[in-house]
Amino acid sequence: MAEAGRERGSGAVAAWNRFWFEVDEGYRLCLVRALFGLVLVLKLTGATGLFRLHDLSVALPRRGVFPVAAALEGFHAPYPWLAWLPLPSPFWFARIEEALLLLAVLLTVGAFTRVVAPLLAVVFSYVFFSSQLNFYHHVYFIVLALWVLAFTDCGRHYSVDALIRPSHRAPRAMTVMPVRMLQLLVCAVYLFTFVWKARGGWLDGAAMQSFGQTGALRGPLGAAMASGFDGALLGGLGWFTLAVEAALPFCLWVDRLRAPAIFAGVVLHLGIDASMHVNTFSYQMMASYVLFIHPVPGATVVLYDGRCGMCQRSRRWGRVLDWLGRVSWVDFHDPEVRELVPGLTQEQLEREMYVFTPGGRCLRGYDGWRYIMASFPLTFLPSVFLYVPPARWAGRRLYRYVADHRQRACELVAPAHAPDTPWRETLAAARLA
């Protein structure tokens, strides 16, 4: 039986145990469960690929995603050690396809996850290993992720299970181990993809040219790259790919580099998806970025004016967008806040919004608002434009104008209660700029 407590001592063993076995709330894992379930639904219905957006069609399920039936009468297993696996008859294989789609939908919504996740892992692995797809990386990645999810309480949040769970049943303590496994898996994918490409023809652009000339590049972007881009441009795209793949395994772990790294990764994968047939690979990798955010639920703290109607409305919108529960909205009129941040005066707090990050930074006004926007999944990509220099200049002035005039637009409302999140720890650790 696992016992939760503070890790004593220091050194490599303690750091190892902290890294692998610290208590985790499970938000990241549960969101990854929902996103990977969605990816599976896309795969099983055939609704993938920006490169073929013009003729996208959906089937429930799409037959032939797993070419098992095609191989019944002949050679089917690239691995001799898998030749013993029995192949289902076409009738039963059709039932398996339907069952997979149903299980994927249940995983996405988080219904009966303690049963659905292991069952899906078993059935999907069987189809993977018994079909000719058993060397495709994106399918292999799904297999590994499903097995990690199969052994965890991945229906704890964002799920039907959470809605119908009896209120008296508190979930058991959970380690961060499955999250770490998936994080390292993501890093290994990027790192070894980079190593493979760096020793091939990617540095001189030959590989990109070859892929373009032999029909691997498709769709609007792929066709333009194959026909309109010269060798230097294709070489430049190759270098961009290499740079992103080399940087991601390291930058994803660094607080200040994470957001630009994720942005670069999203650009890379959207570009790949618009120019190559890589099935759900791009979506899987983008979904897995969720694993690297949200270190502590509610540990980002926004100090707002709880007596201001406009600020209250901003808070409500923020909570709607905060799918991961990353932000604690705390009324600065709370006496406890003033004790925790004695360096801030009432006048400063009334003048602009203050945001305290889990990393100990203090951001004010427009900068804090921008950080919050970058923290929400839905506004992450658009928020990049807020970092462009003219936007910052204009945004600061606009924020200043709105903040100076907000009293006129405000109505006094009852203050909200302080949230039950670790916001006190964030404020206590904050360094005021």
């Binding site: 070419p67 001799p80 060397f135 023809g201």
Partner: protein
């Protein structure tokens, strides 16, 4: 600064959890290194590292030393059609993005299947003559690309390989 503001509680890890972690790391690393050593990207995250263009030709070797060409038939379907001999073309018509080691391994598995299920009575071996080129660019490839020619034999025998330098 990347420090988390909340000191984490740690679940005391039993030996089973530690074994799972170590096995996971060792397995992942071993598969990745194996893929690099064998030039076989399967299970090693090396897809699209190299664009290998190739064509493959199969021959039964008979007991009297003669050879008979074998053209794959309906035993290949779906993705495995890549192992079929491609139509005559001025350039290597098929491509593979999982490394030449994976291509060779797949051809060997197909040879084993053929030898076990479709061997003529007087055949002693089946050979696959593989012509491949890494990252070719049609049009300029004839002048620049090296074509590797190798013979894969099943049951295992002396394999041969040669580089045919064009231009």
């Amino acid at each position: 600064m990347t420090r988390s503001v909340v000191l984490p509680a740690v679940i005391r890890a039993g030996w089973l959890r530690q074994v799972v972690v170590v096995a996971f790391l060792a397995g992942m690393l071993a598969l990745c290194v194996r893929s690099l050593v064998t030039d076989d990207a399967r299970f090693g995250w090396g897809m699209f590292g190299t664009n290998v263009a190739y064509t493959v030709h199969y021959e039964w070797q008979l007991a009297d030393g003669s050879r008979v060409t074998y053209r794959p038939g309906n035993e290949l379907a779906g993705i495995a059609m890549r192992l079929a001999q491609a139509p005559e073309a001025p350039w290597l018509p098929r491509t593979f993005a999982h490394g030449s080691g994976a291509l060779r391994a797949w051809i060997r598995a197909y040879q084993a299947y053929l030898f076990d299920t479709r061997r003529p009575p007087d055949a002693v071996a089946i050979e696959a003559r593989l012509r491949s080129s890494a990252n070719p660019v049609p049009g300029r490839a004839a002048a620049h690309a090296d074509v590797r020619i190798e013979t894969l034999r099943y049951p295992a025998g002396a394999a041969s390989a040669a580089i045919e330098r064009n231009g």
